[in-house]
């Protein structure tokens, strides 16, 4: 175990987190994700999936425990170093698209890391093509459909060329066709690790291989997603009836 820390990937040990005046949400959670893994994070509402993901990028500070990302210990002074390696997509794309146009939303990250306007635009142009958004580059965010907003948010996050991608319920509000498109895009992304929280078991099983179930503040199940989907009694027991 000890060796994993300084290596690539995500290494989490004994994470404890609680909101003020509440019960702990994460209770001594430990987890290792190696490069190349695509992982689904499952669990019913309010089990702490979003909270856990936010601790990984330092948005929530755990009471105790260690987080190592790509061999770097997450702490105040490594925060921006770690964040530059992680792409994080919130559940609601509106939260992520705060600049007036799509193009500006995509160049926002690269500009913050000191790239020139030209270089940032080049990155953005590539991504716009990849996501089929060329036509909308200068359109205001408020004139997009839900699916387009989702793609724009993803493009904005990928502009930083993250090694690790974290998505919080990415299929929310998408129609089946967009869900398929998104799955295909995700499978082709050049990132090392993908972690996806989702309630859509069927969809997430198409883009990930390993599944974790979070409950009572710990990872209770850690299995290949195909095995898990076959084991309906386990799923049922964690409040995830497969037929819904």
């Amino acid at each position: 175990m000890q060796k994993d820390k300084s290596q690539a990937g995500v290494y989490v040990k004994n994470l404890l987190f609680q909101y003020p005046q509440n019960e702990p949400v994460l209770r001594s959670l430990s987890l290792t994700i190696k490069p190349g893994e695509r992982v689904a994070l499952l669990g019913s509402t309010g089990t702490g999936k979003s909270t856990f993901m936010e601790t990984l990028v330092g948005l929530k500070k755990p009471l105790s425990g260690e987080i190592w990302i790509q061999g770097i210990l997450l702490q105040q002074k490594t925060l921006s170093q770690v964040r530059s390696r992680i792409g994080f997509c919130f559940q609601n794309p509106d939260d992520q698209l705060f600049m007036p146009t799509i193009l500006e939303n995509i160049t926002f990250g690269p500009l913050n890391y000191g790239l020139s306007l030209g270089a940032a635009k080049e990155i953005a142009d590539n991504l716009l093509v990849k996501f089929g958004l060329e036509k909308y580059a200068n359109r205001s965010v408020y004139e997009l459909s839900g699916g387009q907003k989702r793609l724009a948010a993803l493009a904005a996050v990928l502009a930083l060329k993250p090694e690790i991608l974290i998505l919080d319920e990415p299929t929310n509000g998408l129609d089946p066709l967009w869900r398929r498109n998104l799955a295909e895009i995700i499978l082709r992304l050049p990132v090392q690790i993908i972690l996806i929280a989702s309630h859509d078991l069927n969809w997430v099983s198409k883009v990930t291989e390993r599944a974790l179930i979070l409950q009572c503040g710990q990872i209770q199940v850690d299995n290949s997603i195909q095995n898990l989907l076959r084991d309906t009694s386990i799923l049922e027991c964690y409040g995830l009836p497969i037929e819904y």
Partner: protein, 214 residues
């Protein structure tokens, strides 16, 4: 820029309540004459809540950080709803955070609200004076003036009230100098508020022009 409880004499608190009621009554009368006054209530309320939330943002400055007031923007965007909206925002700030309070609600509403009404008039002037320039530029110019003036007038009223009502032992000319001094030290703040007001208005103009009063 809120006057805390306990500083001002009660007489001033009460008479400012009177003035505030009068302006509120006048604004409500204007609102009630709009074609569909009810339709704007949710809009004005959510925008009030937005301003309340936005004024919690801290803008870093060379010395410490300032938090925004945005009463100029509020006036420019909300028009006649601005005064009631400010009254409500101040009410919440008073009872939730203790910025200002119940007895000083009237005076604080005047400090923030009257400049907001000015800001609205200034911003509307662009239809008359800003005809010849591009739309976006005139929005920015008048937005800047509205935002900077509003905060300027607010701080002028605020400091005059504080200096003249705190038993500082200053004589009249010293008081005046103190007010001038404080005003000059607030010019950067006026600049920041003006710039941000102009930028926000231009953002809205690009993204959702129907949000701005025509």
């Amino acid at each position: 820029m809120h006057i805390s409880e306990g500083i001002l004499p009660a007489r001033l608190c009460i008479s400012s309540y009177g003035l505030t009621s009068l302006i509120t009554w006048y604004s409500l009368r204007k609102i009630n004459r709009l074609p569909n006054p009810q339709a704007s209530i949710p809009k004005a309320s959510l925008l009030t809540a937005t301003f309340f939330v936005a004024s919690s943002i801290h803008i870093p400055m060379p010395i410490g950080s300032v938090h925004l007031v945005l009463n100029g923007l509020l006036g420019a965007v909300l028009g006649y709803y601005a005064f009631p909206a400010i009254l409500i925002g101040l009410f919440f700030q008073g009872i939730m955070f203790g910025h200002g309070g119940m007895t000083t609600l009237g005076i604080n509403a005047i400090i923030m609200g009257i400049p907001a009404i000015f800001a609205y008039q200034i911003f509307q002037l662009r239809h008359i004076l800003g005809n010849k320039i591009r739309d976006n530029l005139s929005m920015k110019i008048f937005g800047f003036i509205a935002g900077a003036t509003a905060i300027g007038v607010s701080s002028l009223i605020f400091f005059s009230l504080i200096i003249t009502n705190i038993p500082s032992g200053f004589n009249v000319s010293l008081e005046q100098k103190a007010i001038y001094g404080l005003m000059i030290s607030h010019i950067p703040l006026m600049g920041i508020e003006g710039i941000l007001t102009a930028m926000i208005i231009s953002f809205m103009h690009r993204v959702m022009p129907e949000l701005l009063p025509s």
